[in-house]
Symmetry: C2
Subunit: 67 residues, 2 copies
Amino acid sequence: MQNVINSTRKQQKLSQAELATKTGVTRQTINAIENDKYDPSLDLAFKLADVLGLRVDQLFLWGDRHD
Amino acid sequence: MQNVINSTRKQQKLSQAELATKTGVTRQTINAIENDKYDPSLDLAFKLADVLGLRVDQLFLWGDRHD
DNA sequence: CTGAAATGTAAAGAACGTTTGACATAAAAT
DNA sequence: ATTTTATGTCAAACGTTCTTTACATTTCAG
């Protein structure tokens, strides 16, 4: 599923490692999600949205070209 | 994680089986999620929100008493 | 240019999400 | 009261999410 984690993270000048720490996962998990290897769990999606200051449906683009 | 699937589904007079069909999963999956056995995948969360006419963050209540 | 920080990637395994098939109880309809 | 529809639950199997460890490549500050 498409997401805007990479651009949002860069806007806030966070590294993958920093975002990982803030959301309680590993750097590799953030990297995999940014690069569309797999979708996060619902809980992690909420944590990412929370840290990045967006709603889940704004951070993950399901509507168009959905999944 | 808390969710309002049960009440929303009932408002729309859908059975668990009907909601399952509309979201492309089995009845047992809907039942388990309604009864908080586990959280759905992000994709299924979006499908459920779509069918029930709510946003993911309205259907799943992460903010208060979060996860 | 050199070194440090950031990113990409991979394999093995633990934990979670979903299916299938089945059976049991509850609720609603006839 | 009997049948049908809806819900709860369980176990085995399978695919997905995430961790750990490790190494390679890219980016950037000095």
